[in-house]
């Protein structure tokens, strides 16, 4: 390669390396702010500010959703597997909001440790299945769970209900 070309090649490499370095360091410094939400563990550890607008996210705990009969108020627990957080919300939940699915709530954490949400968004995973296949999978799962509980007579938490790392 001619020296002049070699020099221009070096300039190109230099530009890319410097840009990568700058952006890499910036996003490393801002990594906490780039995260969209706090996890229940971070809230439990006191890493999330109270009485300020933040977002929290996690899996909605099975059987934790309670809706008021006379208003749009609802409460539910979210978990990341280690800690749980109680969320209060007054409004219409998105269609895809469901127990054992992930959700992200915007609102403020009160001093009492309860999160009051102004907005709740459903977070879905990257898996897509046709309804019949999903039904068949659910039936297989139920059958397995029944068989397991029949043999061991265990009634404690089904391991399937512990959240997977969906976020």
């Amino acid at each position: 390669m001619k020296p002049a070309r070699k020099q221009r090649l070096l300039i190109v490499v230099f530009i890319v390396v410097i840009a990568a370095l700058v952006v890499g360091l910036l996003s490393y410094a801002l990594r906490e702010n780039i995260n969209l939400f706090y996890t229940p563990s971070q809230v439990a550890a006191g890493e999330a500010p109270t009485n300020a607008q933040i977002r929290v996210g996690g899996m909605v705990v099975v059987d934790s959703l309670q809706r008021a009969s006379d208003s749009l108020d609802s409460t539910f627990l979210v978990t990341d597997g280690t800690a749980t957080l109680l969320i209060h919300y007054s409004g219409i939940l998105p269609d895809l909001f469901a127990e054992d699915e992930a959700a992200v709530a915007t609102g403020a954490l009160g001093d009492d440790g309860v999160f009051v949400a102004q907005q709740v968004l459903a977070k879905h995973d990257e898996e897509y299945t046709p309804p019949e296949v999903a039904d068949a999978m659910q039936q297989a799962k139920d059958k397995k769970a029944k068989a397991a509980s029949a043999t061991t007579k265990q009634t404690d938490i089904n391991p399937e209900n512990t959240p997977k790392a969906a976020y």
């Binding site: 530009i15 890319v16 780039i34 969209l36 895809l96 299945t129 309804p131």
Partner: protein, 245 residues
């Protein structure tokens, strides 16, 4: 190899050769995209949880793929143009920018109308969506830069530098869903391992991705040919093209 490389640098040769590919690329894009759209909209099964809104994936994912891959095409052309002073590479860079911007816009728009029925919002400032918006601004920046200089050489160099700096954003877009907590879900189609999608749903997606690749190649060639005609209008061969004997 080097002879071939220099030939490729000749706009006239490129115009001649690319003209032979155009009809085939056009045919392949139309056939693949029409098949994919009909298959995806009417014949692929709906998703168990998202219902029919999931069908937006057949536009959203291919457009996002090409918006990202197209940026590498543009930046690589910019680098080649800068190192070898190859005029054709500069033309390819300029041709790739509006195409990439349009595909990025399509990815953002389809994502927004998909987000409303699934997440509950059109827009959220999470790492994936924000970095995709940065990509759109990079493309727009290059279009603006390419038009704001009086000399072609300065303009090409400025565009190439911006394009090269912007390449950093591409791996960030790819990995944002793994590095940070985002509302956007991780990738369905993985580099290694099977896609987390039922085959009946994946096949039309594959057809659409192939169709979008052909479409990208087609429009990139068309834009480059336009750029060639524009810049070579003083040459005899373009004059002959305008006035066939």
């Amino acid at each position: 190899m080097w002879q071939w490389f220099h030939k490729l640098g000749s706009p006239r040769w490129f115009y001649h050769i690319s003209g032979k590919f155009l009809p085939w690329l056009a045919l392949a894009s139309v056939v693949l995209i029409v098949t994919g759209v009909v298959w995806g909209l009417a014949f692929a099964p709906q998703d168990a949880r998202q219902g029919n809104s999931f069908r937006i994936i057949y536009i959203h994912v291919p457009a996002s793929f090409l918006a990202l891959a197209g940026y590498y095409v543009m930046a690589a052309a910019g680098a080649v143009g800068m190192i070898w002073k190859m005029k054709l590479a500069d033309m390819v860079m300029v041709a790739a920018a509006p195409l990439g911007a349009a595909l990025t816009f399509i990815a953002l728009f389809t994502g927004a109308v998909w987000g409303k029925p699934t997440w509950g919002t059109y827009w959220i400032w999470d790492a994936r969506i924000t970095s995709m918006l940065v990509l759109l601004f990079l493309y727009i920046g290059i279009i603006a830069l390419s038009r704001s200089f009086s000399t072609r050489e300065t303009s090409a160099r400025a565009c190439a530098i911006l394009a090269l700096v912007g390449t950093v954003n591409i791996p960030i877009i790819y990995k944002s869903v793994d590095w940070w907590y985002t509302l956007h879900q991780p990738a369905t189609i993985k580099m290694t391992g099977a896609p987390s999608m039922h085959p009946d749903m994946f096949k039309p997606l594959l057809v659409m991705i192939l169709g979008f690749y052909c479409f990208y190649a087609l429009v990139l060639l068309l834009n480059t040919r336009t750029e060639i005609l524009l810049r070579e209008s003083r040459t005899t061969w373009v004059k002959e093209l305008a006035e066939p004997k």
